[in-house]
Amino acid sequence: MSSPVLDVQGLAYAYPDGHQALYGVDLHVHRGERVALLGPNGAGKTTLVLHLNGILTAGRGRVAVSGLPVTKQNLTEVRRRVGIVFQDPDDQLFMPTVRDDVAFGPANLGLRGTALERRVLDALDKVGMADFVDRPPHHLSFGQRRRVAVATVLAMEPEILVLDEPSSNLDPASRRELAEILTGLDVTVLMVTHDLPYAFELCPRSVVLSDGVIEADGATYDVLTDDALMSAHRLELPYGFDPRTIVRPSSG
């Protein structure tokens, strides 16, 4: 197999105030995989995500994206390759119109003119928001804003899409629509989530991060049905949801 899209080795990090968030994380994600990153609050999930595109710099260990190490010199290319969709779309959508916002990333990469316009419309088309191109983001519904936030990152044609709590605050219909969009994309996905049914639906593989180390890495079904593992790391299936009683979706 070629080099993994995401290659994290022995990553450790302490915040400037001395709080140690990560204690040697190893994680490999290969092309085309959809991986859920699970873990209780304060496990270091967000800290890990911020290392993937070089916002935070590893204290020890290394991160590489498709073979390219995340270092100061490579930041531009790394940030093109790793697209992060943050939890609150209001943080991500800061331009006056949807078009400007989706164009922001590719324009920073140097795209101009019709190439840029095509990139913007393609990305919006993938999330079904092409009709909203001239609207101000704050006039969209929350679900629509989340989809535009995904488009802003898709417009950079990333090799891996990193989603922070993609289903949070969505109503069930928007949640399902987003799932359909994500499964339809031809891109590697790493999804940070507390929504275990969503992880089960979308991600064949799950990784459990707890207290700054990877505690489990395997098929989502196996992780969610390992009761000892689950309770040891404050992971709980929502009431009424049991993977054992659900017929696995045909696409594994």
Binding site: P96, F104, H139
Partner: protein, 226 residues
Amino acid sequence: MGAGHGHKLHYHGHSPVHRAPAHLKLVALLGFMLVVVATPRTWFPAFAVYLAVVVAVVGLSRVPASYLLKRMVVEVPFVVFAALMPFVATGPRVEVLGVPVSEAGLIAAWALVAKGTLGVLASLTLAATTEPRDLLLGLQRLRFPDQLVQIMGFMIRYLDVVTSEMQRMRVARESRGFDARSPKHWPVLARSAGALFVRSYERGERVHLAMLSRGYTGSLPRDGGR
């Protein structure tokens, strides 16, 4: 959450005034205001001409007069101040309706009201006929410092977000029986304002993170990258 198009001052339309390039409108407004302010206060016919010009532009823009008049209430504090001037100013007195008032004060009040009204009306017309985004692009084209244009852009974008956050905090306060009626409740309001400031600051940091993640290096793409 806000509904509809544009912002609260914008009146949607397709008149020649709406379609004129934003940077030309900005230059025209600035030039007009400089001329108005520089005009000696006793050249009364000149002010009539200025008013006619603004009214003509408003007519051309097909923005209803009532729409602009309602929004002119921002000027009220200045009008009140102007109305006081003839009474507090010193100097020779003249009789108006049997009340002795200062002549210099009267002229000053007239100038304040006339110049203020022209300025407010012209600015409102610009705001009513120009989308905020176009205004920013206009400023950018006029080589206005990039940092300031960016700051204004963020202000427009996040005004609604911060306002609704403020509303939610107010609703949460009142839901727990708080009612700001007397000065002894002010400390609570001050703490709320502080919390809002901290939240906005933290949001600023998160926005910055999101920008860096999409390759931001210090300047926004000119003309939206087009």
